[in-house]
Subunit: 290 residues, 2 copies
């Protein structure tokens, strides 16, 4: 279906899986929110590249799904999306994941926990939404809220926060060991860009439902959130559960980058169509006379 190695589709001159990956010594405050690292094109080039990637992604996803349906391949993918409001999580779900058969995608949005959820360990509600074998699971917010907003808003004691980083690492190690490829993404926008996007939501009647007065309160705490992200990166970046920070002031770049991370992850799984577990010629003969 394509001749180039993954990571080198049109206009990419670096592999975003390398470039955007959080490594030892990473500092969030040194990351530009408006850059387009590794991509050598503009918005219209990006549209072309996204369309190209959609076909690749769709085929890889179908192989992932097929493997679980026949042959019992236990593998699956979990894409975790974290960001401040308006950074574009919803747009990624809409513009990247629509390329894929809805039957093979499970989207879970984690809002403010309910009373029932608060009465349980913080991972309880997360476990219920994990993707099954063959699926791509997308978390719109996640268990990381429990060390982000929980830290900034002091919703948990310092000891409990400490425990949670460890619990997250154990949890993700367990997922990885049972066949889950984990991709953790933070979409990074500037406070100015966020103001513009929130203003747009206030100006457009068809966007009012996306705004909540609490979004401004959260916005005022942006510096504290950045610190909390920095700590989360330092405590929970693992070879089997990497973090990627994606400059997101340009929506088209963020979408393309996430699509690319997904393609790379699926490609690394060396997926192929499963081998028939029945005798093909025998079944053809049966079918012909049926």
């Amino acid at each position: 279906m394509r001749g180039d190695p993954v990571g080198l589709e049109t206009y990419w001159n670096e592999d975003p899986s390398d470039t955007l990956r959080v490594r030892q010594g990473f500092r969030l405050d040194e990351v530009s929110t408006s850059a387009t690292p590794g991509f050598d094109g503009d918005k219209s080039d990006a549209a072309e590249s996204l369309a190209e990637g959609s076909l690749i992604l769709a085929e890889l996803q179908e192989k992932l799904y097929a493997g679980a349906q026949m042959g019992g391949d236990p593998r699956r993918v979990l894409l975790v999306l974290q960001a401040m409001d308006t950074a574009g999580k919803g747009g990624i779900v809409k513009h990247v994941m629509t390329a894929v058969d809805p039957q093979g995608v499970q989207v879970a949005s984690f809002k403010k926990p309910t009373e029932e959820e608060l009465a349980q360990d913080f991972l309880w509600r997360i476990r219920k939404e994990l993707p099954e074998a063959g699926m791509i699971g997308v978390f719109d917010r996640s268990h990381y809220e429990d060390v982000l907003i929980a830290r900034v808003r002091e919703l948990a004691e310092p000891d409990e926060l400490e425990r949670r980083y460890e619990a997250i690492n154990e949890f993700e190690a367990e997922l990885a060991a049972s066949g889950t490829t984990i991709i953790k993404v933070m979409l990074h926008i500037s406070t100015d860009e966020q103001r513009d996007r929130l203003m747009k939501r206030l100006e457009r009647r068809d966007k009012h439902w996306k705004f909540n007065p609490g979004d401004i309160d959260e916005r005022m705490l942006a510096p504290m959130y950045r610190e909390a992200y920095q700590v989360a990166f330092e405590r929970t970046t693992m070879p089997h559960a990497p973090w990627y920070v994606i400059p997101a002031d340009r929506k088209w770049y963020a979408r393309l980058a996430v699509q690319h991370l997904l393609i790379d992850a699926l490609d690394a799984m060396k997926l192929d169509w499963p081998v028939a577990d029945y005798d093909i010629e025998e079944q053809k003969a049966r079918l012909a006379v049926s």
Copy 2:
């Protein structure tokens, strides 16, 4: 967004919501599987019409979702897809539902029940997958299997089957009363067309995973399945839970027809963007100085 009344987009000369609806006196054995009732075009016209409908469907779905997010509108849609193997349920999910934001769609596939599921009432596993407020739920197979395969394969006693029709009617009445618009679709293909499609699955390496030797066994029972469908239509067609039988030998027609049923159902809900539950000017002022 469009000037024509719903049901009269390009190439449609009748409203499929009328034409395809199961009514008193309906006989499945009188329905052509290869016709394209109400549609005045060919495959390429259909592609154009599907693209047009996708934009309409996407906007309606976003309004449905928005209403639940702000304003607490409890309404939702449940699309039930039933058919013999290869009739195109999966293709409908893929080609109709990809138009819609994945965040607003829940697809549930009901396979052979597990031990745990069999130990419960047949509606137990169904209830767990019902769409939440604002969502479009799609059932790939459904509780109707419990009066279709269960009848044909004698997996339940006659008394229990009788009870199930009633239980289904009560269940669907309850869903409708709590704000669910129900659309029940049977995709209808000929046995010849089914043979061709199964053969294609056997001939193509990338389709082998979609084939199961049991598909041929089921195929041999097609006349009995048609009878079971006929009974199901007679027993469970209700004003709030109508059945539609869609000729499906032409995939492009079936997809377009289902898209149209969805559009009509959403249009009839008179959806609009929810009204802001905050003071817009006050929030603009707060945001400007944040």
